[in-house]
């Protein structure tokens, strides 16, 4: 039953993304392009997740990358959303290391972990992360949605310039410690375990391509540090 729903979601999103690409390319103004990016970035992530659930790993990977390409293209004024094919995406894994691409949706998320040399995505490259929801990332960024801005962004915005040892600085350091601990639980602990099982050498290069709100968080610093 759920497979049928994932299939329907993937089909509708694919049609929306195809049409959206046409609207984006035909847009006569930056404002229209920005609107298209703003209104479709979540569609790429959800489409990718639905495809992952369907087992269409290569399509999921290309869709996820295309969303990122469009966002970066618009932000950096680069040429436009073409995205890469599967082989070229997988080739981005650094030699001796791995490529990590998280996906976040309201239904939970996943992390795609590709060791260097992978030619096609395999089922074992997908780590399902049920707790990695849009809401979890939003709360990690700003705290509870019904409260004033707090957590990572609140600490960063309010206290980053505070003097060492001051209450403000201590609060910011507390926010950092909380964020990296939660990131470990939500995403990076499982990714680390996967990398360990892949037999990567200590210090091996790992390229992380975050998506959505995760782009603003210190994924590389995540850890289960004692408090």
């Amino acid at each position: 039953m759920r497979q049928r729903e994932w299939e329907r979601a993937a089909e509708a999103y694919a049609a929306a993304l195809e049409l959206g690409a046409q609207v984006f390319q035909a847009a006569g103004s930056d404002a229209v392009r920005r609107r298209e990016v703003r209104e479709s970035w979540h569609v790429h992530a959800r489409a990718s997740y639905a495809l992952l659930r369907r087992g269409q790993l290569a399509d999921a990977l290309v869709t996820l990358d295309r969303g990122k390409a469009r966002l970066l293209g618009e932000r950096l004024g680069l040429a436009p959303e073409t995205g890469l094919d599967t082989e070229r995406i997988l080739a981005l894994a650094p030699a001796g290391g791995a490529l990590v691409m998280p996906v976040v949706t309201p239904a939970g998320g996943a992390a795609l972990v590709f060791p260097a040399g992978r030619r096609t995505p395999a089922p074992e490259d997908v780590l399902w992360l049920d707790g990695l929801t849009d809401l979890a990332v939003v709360e990690l960024l700003g705290g509870p949605t019904d409260a004033p801005l707090g957590a990572w962004l609140g600490g960063f915005m309010a206290e980053r310039g505070a003097l060492l040892g001051s209450p403000g600085r201590l609060a910011w350091e507390e926010a950092i410690a909380t964020a990296i601990g939660k990131l470990w639980k939500l995403v990076m602990g499982a990714v680390h375990e996967r990398l360990r099982r892949l037999g990567l050498a200590r210090g091996a290069p790992v390229a992380i391509v975050p998506q959505g709100g995760l782009s603003l968080l210190p994924l590389a610093a995540a850890g289960a540090f004692p408090r």
Partner: protein, 110 residues
């Protein structure tokens, strides 16, 4: 007041209710929009789409999907809205997959 003007006012009221989380009131207002709208099919399709979103917000996913599908042929003339409607159909299926029998949570307005 002409049907199209009445419908536009009703639609704005419906959006206000939906934005404040009163999906049931929004549904009631959208349902009250006349079918004819002086032959303005585009306006009818926008209201049908917004009705669909309000229905989904109140958990009535089956009718929400029917409403947006009925509006699709008309929305085709407006690619940006058509794209949004297709993405919304994806959202409905996504929520259904997530929740089993039917989930909650939609975004956007036509």
């Amino acid at each position: 007041m002409r049907p199209a003007e009445w419908a536009a006012t009703t639609a704005e009221l419906g959006q206000a209710h939906a934005a404040h989380g009163d999906a049931d009131q929004a549904v009631a207002l959208y349902r009250a929009a006349p079918e004819e709208l002086d032959g303005n099919r585009e306006e009818w399709a926008r209201i049908a789409f917004n009705l669909s979103l309000a229905l989904a917000q109140s958990g009535a996913y089956a009718e929400a999907e029917r409403r947006v599908r009925a509006a699709l042929p008309v929305l085709r003339a407006e690619p940006a809205r058509h794209r949004k409607a297709l993405a919304t159909l994806g959202d409905y299926a996504f929520e259904a997959a997530r929740m089993g029998a039917g989930g909650r949570g939609v975004r956007g307005r036509a």
